[in-house]
């Protein structure tokens, strides 16, 4: 699986992704928009409606050692010829106190950069949690 590049970021925001997010199976089309100034965050907004909108992040930015094991079945479901066509982003839960933000490492959203198919999968990796704290530090709240 390749990491997400600057070129990817520009290209991604211009297209609609077909997706399947657990609990939101009725919503099938989303737009992925990068945050400003090269932050490793994206909004993932349902097309033509306000809700749901998810915040996704590049998990490798925070956890370079993160190794999601994608199966051949996952690759096939996304219609990819190789895992190199895929990249993954993780769903972030943002509480009112931002420093307590958590990220779902257990079930990343995996994207096919060629055909704009995406899906949220459940990894077999037992070590990854649904609520991994993104910032270990103690940054002050500014908002």
């Amino acid at each position: 699986m390749r990491k997400i590049s600057v070129m990817d970021r520009e290209m991604l925001s211009k297209n609609i992704f077909q997706s399947r997010i657990w609990g939101f199976e009725d919503i099938k089309e989303y737009i992925l928009s990068p945050f400003e100034q090269d932050l490793p965050f994206y909004s993932f907004q349902a097309v033509g409606r306000e809700h749901p909108c998810f915040i996704l992040c590049d998990p490798f930015f925070f956890l370079p050692e993160y190794k999601p094991e994608l199966s051949d079945e996952m690759q096939k479901e996304l219609g990819a010829d190789s895992k190199e066509e895929l990249f993954c982003l993780s769903v972030v839960t943002v509480p009112d106190i931002f420093k307590n933000m958590t990220v779902n490492l257990k079930s990343p959203v995996v994207f096919n950069r060629h055909n704009y198919q995406s899906r949220q999968f459940v990894l077999d990796n037992p070590e990854y949690s649904v609520r991994h704290k993104l910032f270990g530090g103690c940054e002050e709240e500014i908002c």
Binding site: F54, V122, E139, E141, I142
Partner: protein, 78 residues
């Protein structure tokens, strides 16, 4: 809890129309086949937790919050 021992290829029934078959056994993993009517929901247990987390994650996103978050991340990361 009812406990059964099954070998590869053996199965058991839940009610009249749900059949569970052990397909393959490896050291720490087994593959299971489930034959059930289409209206029976079959979910890995962790998906329930994931659905709930997705619900919370999507509920907490507003336009104002996105703006604040952008500022916060700019200061924290850049």
């Amino acid at each position: 809890m009812l406990i059964l021992s099954r070998k590869t290829g053996e199965s058991f029934l839940i009610g009249n129309d749900i059949e569970i078959t052990v397909l393959d056994i490896q050291s720490d993993k087994i593959r299971i086949g489930i034959d059930a009517p289409s209206d029976v929901l079959v979910l890995r247990k962790e998906v329930k937790e994931i659905k709930e987390e997705n619900r919370i994650a999507s509920c907490t996103v507003t336009k104002e919050k996105l703006k604040c978050l952008n500022n916060y991340l700019n200061q924290s990361i850049n």
